[in-house]
Amino acid sequence: MSAGREAETAAFAELERLRTAIEELDRRLVELIAERVRLAREVGVAKRAGGRPTLDPSREAAVVRRAGALAREAGLAEEDVRDIFWHLIGLSRRAQAQGARDERDA
């Protein structure tokens, strides 16, 4: 096997290893998102039990502010991370709204 071919094989193996690691990370990310949604649903239950409104924009803004600051510290594109968190908040909002409907219909 030529040296060039050997280097190519090694690079390919490294690429495979990295891809496997990313797949594993993605799996954990999805689990974490699911966990976040579960917690948000419980927050919704607690809010309703305490007679507080489900929608809390100032709380959401604080969550996004914190995520943006963490992204900055980590050297990530802050605006993109903020966008991701607005999406996560959207998921949580829907989960809470669904929870409220389920309670009502029960």
Binding site: P57, S58, A61, W86
Partner: protein, 351 residues
């Protein structure tokens, strides 16, 4: 509402201002300029109290945006938007250097696309256009090669390095076209297809938005706002002539729209002199006028044999005529404070 921050504003101050606005249920958009940073507020502005915003640390000025378009408006950005096109080095639209897109109206076959791409690149074009999905006035004429055309564009991009521009007509095709080309074009007939615009707002590719045949400048900017409001901020506007009572030309190029758009929006503005006039002999004078009026670039139809073109042959330039246009365009570009890509001496011109 726009919040202009004072020079030297800190990240923590920006965070606090944004949290205040977002806590009221609005969204913010940050634009960092060389000297000033601007926070645009999007949502129900009646909830915002100017007095409360003014006293936040870091705030210098609070300005209402009276225009119906926000993200597209000049005030919302600290400077003109420069859009990167293509992977790697790619090219830029909205920078000092004129952006020139050239190529056939529709992709007909591999050889003609390859030949045209090489010729326009040699003449100094920075991007290749080519229609795969064609919106034709008649359902009985050539409708484009569709997916096959996209694959050919991708092949030729790999060969030449030219980023590609192609039209998408159907919201269902957005992902497909985005996979194959660098810039997604919205044709004049689809400028107010809001389903398509919303779909384009979700992709990570620049959009070339052509002005509708009877659309006002305000309507064009509102269409851009549709795309931008969904998250895609990379919108390139294109003036391509509007319908008037004049029949000597296919459309009437609205030259005044160029400086008006440049004043109203931070988005780059291209001009399509081919569709505007509908005749090959009008392409050069309209191109000169467009650049003189401040356009950021041109999109020109070029076909190796215009008389045999399957669509829009009347308005297509031959590669030689395009090279000549590019040569004669240079003094107009310089007079307008623009530069043009350096071209290898007499490339593409038979010695």
């Amino acid at each position: 509402m726009i919040i202009v921050t004072r020079p030297g504003v800190t990240d923590a101050e920006l965070d606090r201002i944004r949290e205040h606005v977002e806590g009221l249920g609005l969204r913010t958009h940050l634009s960092r300029g060389e000297r000033r940073t601007i926070i645009g507020c999007i949502g129900d502005e009646s909830l915002l109290e100017e007095a409360a915003l003014r006293i936040l640390p870091g705030v210098e000025q609070v300005l209402p945006v009276l225009k119906p378009y926000k993200l597209a408006s000049r005030e919302f950005s600290a400077g003109p938007t420069v859009i990167r096109v293509g992977d790697g080095a790619g090219t830029r639209v909205g920078a000092r250097e004129l952006a020139v897109v050239a190529g056939p109206c529709s992709v007909e076959n591999r050889e003609m696309l390859r030949e045209t791409a090489r010729a326009v690149q040699a003449a100094g074009a920075g991007m290749l256009r080519g229609g795969a999905f064609k919106p034709r006035t008649s359902p009985y004429v050539f409708q484009g090669l569709k997916e096959e055309g996209l694959r050919l564009l991708r092949e030729v991009r790999a060969e030449t390095g030219l980023p590609t521009v192609s039209e998408v007509m159907d919201p269902r095709h957005v992902d497909l076209v985005a996979e194959h080309v660098d810039v997604l074009q919205v044709g004049a007939r689809n400028m107010q297809n809001f389903t398509l615009l919303s779909e384009l707002g979700r992709v990570q590719r620049p959009v070339l938005l052509k002005r509708g045949l009877s659309a006002t400048i305000k309507e064009l900017l509102m269409a851009a706002e549709y795309i931008m409001s969904q998250g895609n901020r990379d919108v390139i506007l294109c003036e391509r002539g509007i319908r008037t009572y004049e029949t000597a030309t296919r459309n009437t190029l609205d030259v005044a729209a160029i400086p008006v758009l440049k004043a109203e929006t931070h988005l780059p503005v291209l001009v399509d002199p081919s569709h505007a006039g509908g005749r090959a002999d009008l392409v050069a004078p309209l191109a000169f006028a467009a650049v003189a009026a401040g356009a950021d670039g041109l999109i020109v139809e070029v076909h190796p044999c215009p008389e045999q073109a399957l669509s829009d042959g009347d308005q297509s330039l031959t590669p030689a005529a395009f090279a000549e246009l590019m040569r004669r365009l240079r003094p107009f570009a310089e007079a307008a404070g623009r530069t043009m890509a350096e071209v290898a001496a007499l490339a593409g011109v038979a010695a």
